[in-house]
Symmetry: C2
Subunit: 306 residues, 2 copies
């Protein structure tokens, strides 16, 4: 099975309003709730691709209970660890006039030391049967900034390939622990390396410890700097839609495509990401669109050595 | 005891953000949750004034459970009736830069016919020991627009004085059932009567069926059109603060002041309302400020007959 870790899970709320006007009062016309957090999204996509997937991380309080009840009917195994605080809410306010979204993210519960120990025990146990693991998203309050570095080391010690998808200082520390794969976007790479030039920045990130760096270039596709060479994959142009969850779909494709060569693995990540952008609901993807786009992705190898 | 009815209770959330920027992503720096809905606020103020108060209406789902758990430690008796749907959330987003608030209100759960019957049975039972009742706020989906008119008639049949604080068509229908008191603001009165002139509009509302109309004039105080005459009460000028809950405090003062003459009753409503505006937390009031302002409220009787 594939394991995904979401330390700061979220109850994702979406409000639809006729038009968002700051400092006014609004009647919300539609309310949607779904279990959220990057690792949960990755696990859902893995399940939709036919893979067994298990989610761990923390859930607590009334919002955590709702999250788990929404997760229960999905083809994803819940191995979340209880926490005393309440799971955070994230709120997307969709303006029905413009289609634009305003995002409000709660910080999340404070994780205590005993809870962290309970989590790492569960993580060690789950690694025993994991084909690969993805560590996803932000750290909740109370978890030390080097936590992902520790989890990367634990996976490597267990011989389980580990993908890290986070940002800022947790990414910087995590990379130093030598994960198999990181998937930063251009902004995250620039914060890490100081360079906005993707090839230069990806190579820098490899030198910092990541075995492979897959840089997400948004609508321009992805660039992979690997031990075997550098490839760039580009989707067909002009695909428009909702980019929410596109990165999580790319993680799912990269995690489950380890048996493929890099051009094929990268093409799948780009196609699945694009099919997620095209789907009407955030974080879903259209299987037919995925197959269709996969045939149109172009992959080029970079001439010089990685 | 005093009974307050809140058919569409709410879990009131407050998010503090550094600055609210539409279509951007925000980290919420502070999250607060409290039990909400106008009748719950009225009951809290009644309790703070030393009166026994009981709240009824509907609560359901995980948000309803949180609301009831937050209500439990307060000196207010919970006589809420279960509903299958989830109690709505209302969200106030406070912009820390400007101090302004953006409000987002969910519609609330759909109330089924059997749930409505369960509520009216509970209401009838509670009326048996009520000194007065306040019917407060909007109707949840599924409750017929004439519901407040029915509840007014039920209270009158039980000999219990009834105050109605709502707006729009539920107010129009409710007034026709002859409540003892309504407390519209200038906008609500204008929607009801077509007149923005408070005295004219209040007299019109009396002709429509309300025994007494107390029109809220915001910072200019209140105007009471009663069977005994017309009075206007004015607070000291220049009071600034958060008007959230000021109307609910006025309802609490009017409900509990039935033993007083109109000038005294109105002065208390205006002073308590002003003390609520001055308090730092929305819906709270400062007891010392209340006593102080009460001595500064001016009440004038209108010369012509009501």
């Amino acid at each position: 099975m594939f394991l995904t870790v979401t330390l700061n899970t979220a109850l994702d709320l979406t409000y639809r309003v006729p038009a968002l006007v700051p400092h006014a009062s609004h009647r919300v016309t539609e309310v949607a709730e779904r279990p959220g957090g990057k690792g949960l999204n990755v696990a859902r996509v893995l399940a939709a691709l036919g893979h067994e997937s298990v989610v761990t991380g923390f859930a607590g309080g009334p919002t955590g209970e709702v999250l788990r009840s929404l997760l229960a009917p999905l083809p994803v195994r819940d191995a979340l660890v209880p926490t005393a605080g309440a799971t955070r809410r994230t709120l997307a306010v969709v303006d029905a006039t413009t289609g634009d979204t305003t995002q409000l993210n709660e910080p999340g519960p404070v994780i205590g030391p005993a809870e962290w120990t309970a989590f790492t025990d569960r993580y060690a146990e789950l690694l025993g049967s994991a084909e690969a693991v993805a560590l996803c998203g932000s750290l909740p309050p109370g978890v030390h900034v080097g936590a992902y570095a520790d989890l990367v080391r634990q996976a490597r010690a267990a011989g389980v390939p580990v993908l890290l998808d986070t940002s800022g200082e947790p990414l910087r520390r995590g990379i130093a622990a030598r994960p198999d794969l990181v998937k930063p976007n251009t902004d995250e790479l620039a914060r890490l390396t100081g360079s906005r030039e993707p090839l230069r920045a990806a190579r820098d990130a490899r030198r910092r410890g990541a075995r492979t760096v897959v840089a997400s270039l948004g609508p321009d596709g992805m660039l992979a700097a690997t031990p075997d060479g550098v490839w760039r994959a580009t989707p067909p142009s002009g695909l428009r839609g909702n980019p929410t969850g596109a990165g999580d779909s790319a993680v799912a494709a990269l995690l489950s495509g380890a048996h493929l060569d890099w051009p094929a693995r990268l093409a799948r990540a780009v196609a699945l990401s694009a099919a997620t952008v095209l789907a009407p609901a955030a974080g879903e993807f259209d299987a037919a669109a995925y197959e269709d786009i996969l045939g149109q992705v172009t992959v080029e190898e970079h001439a010089s050595a990685a």
